[in-house]
Each structure stands twice: as structure tokens, then as C-alpha cells.
């Protein structure tokens, strides 16, 4: 999990996602009309809106799963249709998008983050296995790697999908409703984790959520663009630290230990 900080500094605040005059209609119904905004390197963007506001539609257009009716989406300056640097993007789908009976282990799922177009016909190498170990360790789920994904709790599953997204050491993470069906405490530790990644590892975040409170608590009230019901909360990177920690696995482990110890303090306090 080495971060190339020199390269990151050189191209500082480059536009990572550019949405240019994008419209989208399902059949006759317009869901998104003439929307433009940009996500810069090290931004943390929360995409908030009610059900049916077009959040997921927009997200799917950004990752190239849907084609805009008109307009253009660019990733790292390149038209999404011809974009080929999939390793740069980590994508965490909605948790309920998989069948809980699916016979796959945590390790198999995390490993699948490496299966992209460039790896067709190629076998997984030792380096790939190492990447998998690192990603498992970063999320603190190395003990779960032989478990079936459907047998885990919601919070654990979420870590698995985050590990899968992190395995390529991406510069941007896209998360679709990451807090759905997860208890408040787990949500909080999850937020701590992504906040840490944002502040210490130069990562850009785009997160879709209908959970206004959660995003507001981190981003503050900063609606930057409005499109009907769709609101974007954009937080630029001035809060992030310039010294970049190199080892994601190591720094996240430190963070978890810190959170664990805090939990203990609360417990003891309760008993008193």
C-alpha cells in the first residue's frame, strides 16, 4: 500500500471527475438535467438526495455503467467511455447488491478487486497475493478471510467491500450508500476510517448517501450544486494534512487500536 506522494503533489488538485452538462432520462422522464460539477483531487464529496432524486443514476454514469442522454463525464481528464485506468478507482457497491447465499470467501471477494481488463488471461502473482494480504490487514479482517461473505455481519461485509476497493491502492474511492443497514456505532467507526484515509492518504472520496445527518456531521452545511432534489455537499481538501503517511495498512491499524482503546474507556466509565 505505497502511496506515490511525489506524483500526487505534482498534479495537485487535478480534476478527478468532471461532469459536463449531463442529462439523463429514463424513457420520457428526465431524472438529471444539464448538471455540471467537478471533483478535484483530495475532495470529499457527499452526494445527498431523497430516494429517486437520481443519486445512484449519477453515480452509475460516473463509473460508466450508464451512458448520459447528453453531456459528458470525464475521469482523470479522459472520457469515461474510453477510460482504461480502472486501478485508480475503488468502487464500493450497495451492500445489498449481492446474494447472501453466494459461496464465496472473504479472500475470494477481496481478491476479485484485482480482476480487471488488463488481467484477463493472467494468473494472480505473488505480488497480487501480497496486495490482498495488505488490503485485508488494512481493514482488520485478516482473521475472517476464510469465512463465507454471507455469514458476516453488515459492518464486516462493508469492510470486505472496502478492502476489495482498496486492493489496487486507488486514488479515488466511490461509495454507494455505505451505511445502509448498519448500526450507528459501526457507521461511526466506518466514518472514522474513511475520514482517516481522506486526511492522511491523499484519497479523493465520492459518497452517495440518503443519510443526511451522517454526511453533514463530517462535511458541514455546504450545498454547492443543486439539481432538483439532488444536493451535493463538497468539502475541499484544506483540512487534510500535507504530510502523507505511506503505509495505509499500518496507519489504519493504528487508528483501529486507538478507537478500541477509547471504547474501553467508555465502558469503564459506564461501570463507575
Amino acid at each position: 500500500m505505497q502511496m506515490n506522494s511525489a506524483a500526487a503533489a505534482a498534479s495537485c488538485h487535478q480534476e478527478v471527475i468532471s461532469v459536463e452538462n449531463v442529462s439523463f432520462s429514463y424513457q420520457q422522464q428526465k431524472v438529471i438535467s444539464d448538471l455540471s460539477f467537478a471533483v478535484k483531487e483530495r475532495d470529499f464529496i457527499g452526494l445527498i438526495g431523497t430516494n429517486g432524486a437520481g443519486k445512484t443514476t449519477l453515480l452509475r454514469m460516473i463509473v460508466g455503467l450508464l451512458k448520459p442522454t447528453s453531456g459528458m463525464v470525464r475521469l482523470f481528464g479522459e472520457d469515461v467511455a474510453s477510460f482504461r485506468q480502472w486501478e485508480k478507482i475503488g468502487y464500493v457497491p450497495q451492500k445489498n447488491s449481492f446474494n447472501p447465499l453466494f459461496p464465496a470467501t472473504v479472500r475470494e471477494v477481496v481478491m476479485s478487486g484485482l480482476y480487471n481488463r488488463n488481467k484477463i488471461f493472467k494468473k494472480m502473482s505473488k505480488t497480487d497475493n501480497k496486495k490482498c494480504e495488505d488490503a485485508l490487514q488494512a481493514m482488520g479482517i485478516e482473521d475472517l478471510q476464510a469465512k463465507m461473505i454471507g455469514r458476516l455481519s453488515g459492518g464486516q461485509q462493508q469492510r470486505v467491500f472496502l478492502a476489495r476497493a482498496l486492493i489496487n491502492n486507488p486514488s479515488m474511492l466511490i461509495l454507494d450508500e455505505p451505511t445502509v443497514g448498519i448500526d450507528t456505532e459501526t457507521q461511526e467507526s466506518f466514518f472514522h476510517m474513511i475520514k482517516h484515509m481522506h486526511q492522511h492518504h491523499n484519497m479523493t472520496f465520492l459518497m452517495v448517501s440518503h443519510d443526511l445527518e451522517m454526511i453533514r456531521s463530517y462535511l458541514g452545511e455546504q450545498p454547492a450544486a443543486e439539481n432538483g432534489e439532488l444536493k451535493f455537499h463538497i468539502k475541499h481538501s484544506h483540512e487534510t494534512q500535507d504530510c502523507v503517511e505511506n503505509d495505509l495498512a499500518h496507519s489504519l491499524k493504528g487508528l483501529r487500536e486507538e478507537m478500541e482503546s477509547r471504547k474501553e474507556v467508555v465502558l469503564i466509565g459506564d461501570r463507575n
Binding site: V63, G64, L65, W86, E108, R117
Partner: protein
């Protein structure tokens, strides 16, 4: 017992061993993607192809194969038209296939068509040509799965993530359909068109009970498929039963035993 040493039985056994690997493997991908009914649909349509093959005097399995591939494309098209009622496309094409087959069979009444052997399977009808065709299909399926297993896993587990990783999802969908069509059309002579989908889906159903990883489920379906085909053919040969029916009933027995065993294990623990 001498039937076991006869040439036609040995041909059936070799053919059975081959489809005992490929049918459950393709079935695993279909079941995990919740497309179990596709096996049934393709096999019903391929009967129509078999009937046409007899009528026009062309190798029936080849015509059946063309029909099955056409049907697999039609299903994809209709699935898009009826997005939220995808199973509707399956019902339409399945009944369409049977309807066409019944018409063609009545038209060909004067020919000496052995309809039963295609509907319910027969171990007496497998020729050496059939065996070569089955061998070829097995090789294609195994090479495809061996080289593409990680991509197939990702597409089966999470199609969106596969798209985002730049995998040509449409290509893989077509590949799965075409390989399934291939396997089904060569299997119908042994298992029978009405029963072939059981050989695709029941091993996968068993693996959902016992497998704890994708790797394990791949191994499980092949072991269970082979076991059922070999035992089924032996039993059918010795007591002169329909091989397809015997194999399927064996598969269902295995599934029931596994379900019982799991329930026992649960209440025991």
C-alpha cells in the same frame, strides 16, 4: 450385467463422464446468477432444432445447437424488453420452443423419428460422431472456464463491479449463454431434453448447501455431477431404465440427503 461391457454402453458412459463435468459447471454460473430456468428454456428450444434436423436430414444435434444459441440471444433481448419481469421472457421462449417442436414432430410422422430418446434420453443411441462432438464441446467449455474463471467469478458475484473494472460484461454474458447452449445440445441425447436442466441446476443446489467458498463449489458440482451420471447410467443400464430419469432422481436423492443432513447437523449443534 453384460450390458456394461457392451460398446454402446461404454460410449454412453464416456459421454456421460464428459457432460457430468461440463453441465454442472455451466449450471453453477447460471444458478448463482439466478438464471436457473435458462437451462430448461434452451433445452426445450433445442428439441425443436432436433426435430427440424430429422425433417431436413441434417445432423439433429447441430441443428438443436443452432436453435439453442438463437434462443439464448432471444432471451437476452427479451430480458431487456421486460426488465423487471425477466422470467417472462423465459416462459415465452420455452413454450415457443415446445410448440415448434410438436409441430415439427407431427410433420415428420412419416419419418422414423425416435422422439422419446431425445425427450428422455437413451443410452442406446449415442454414436461415435456424437462422442466426438461431446468431446469437442467439453474441451471448449473446460478451456474457457480454466482461463476465465476469475472473470466469470466476478461477473457472477457482482456484475456492476465487473463493469467498473472494465471487463466486457456483455461478451461474458454471451459466452456463458453460448457455452450453456453447447452443453445442453450435446447432453440431450444422454439425459433427455426434458431433464437436462436438472443436471445443470441440482449439483449447484447441492453445492449451495455444502460449499464454503467458490473454489469448493466448483469442485462440489463436478463431483456430484459425475457421481450421479456414472451411478445413474449403471443403474439404468442394468435394469433397463431411462438414463435421464435415473440420473435426475439420483441427484434429487443426494440433494434431499444433504438437506436432511444439514438439518440434523443444525439441531445437533
Amino acid at each position: 450385467m453384460e450390458i456394461v461391457t457392451s460398446e454402446f454402453f461404454q460410449r454412453a458412459l464416456i459421454g456421460g463422464l464428459l457432460i457430468g463435468v461440463t453441465a454442472p459447471l455451466m449450471g453453477l454460473f447460471l444458478v448463482l446468477r439466478r438464471l436457473s430456468m435458462i437451462g430448461d428454456t434452451l433445452s426445450h428450444v433445442s428439441i425443436a432444432g432436433v426435430a427440424l434436423g430429422f425433417l431436413i436430414g441434417v445432423y439433429p444435434i447441430a441443428v438443436g445447437l443452432i436453435f439453442a444459441i438463437a434462443a439464448s440471444f432471444a432471451i437476452e433481448k427479451l430480458r431487456k424488453a421486460y426488465k423487471s419481469y425477466a422470467e417472462l421472457s423465459i416462459a415465452i421462449i420455452m413454450s415457443g420452443g415446445v410448440a415448434l417442436a410438436s409441430l415439427l414432430f407431427t410433420m415428420g410422422k412419416n419419418f422414423n423419428m425416435n422422439v422419446n430418446s431425445y425427450l428422455f434420453g437413451s443410452i442406446y443411441t449415442l454414436g461415435s460422431t456424437d462422442l466426438y462432438v461431446i468431446g469437442g464441446v467439453t474441451a471448449i467449455v473446460l478451456i474457457a472456464i480454466r482461463t476465465q474463471v476469475k472473470e466469470l467469478f466476478l461477473i457472477t458475484f457482482d456484475e456492476d463491479a465487473a463493469s467498473v473494472s472494465g471487463l466486457p460484461v456483455k461478451f461474458y454474458n454471451v459466452m456463458i449463454s453460448v457455452l450453456t447452449a453447447l452443453v445442453i445440445s450435446v447432453s440431450i441425447k444422454i439425459v433427455g431434453a426434458l431433464l437436462v436442466s436438472a443436471l445443470l441446476t441440482i449439483p449447484a443446489a447441492c453445492s449451495l448447501i455444502i460449499a464454503r467458498s467458490f473454489r469448493q463449489s466448483v469442485i462440489t458440482v463436478v463431483v456430484i455431477g459425475e457421481l450421479a451420471v456414472v451411478c445413474g447410467l449403471l443403474v439404468a443400464g442394468i435394469w433397463n431404465l431411462a438414463p435421464g430419469g435415473t440420473i435426475v432422481l439420483l441427484l434429487i436423492t443426494v440433494l434431499l440427503l444433504l438437506l436432511l443432513f444439514r438439518r440434523g447437523a443444525r439441531s445437533g449443534s
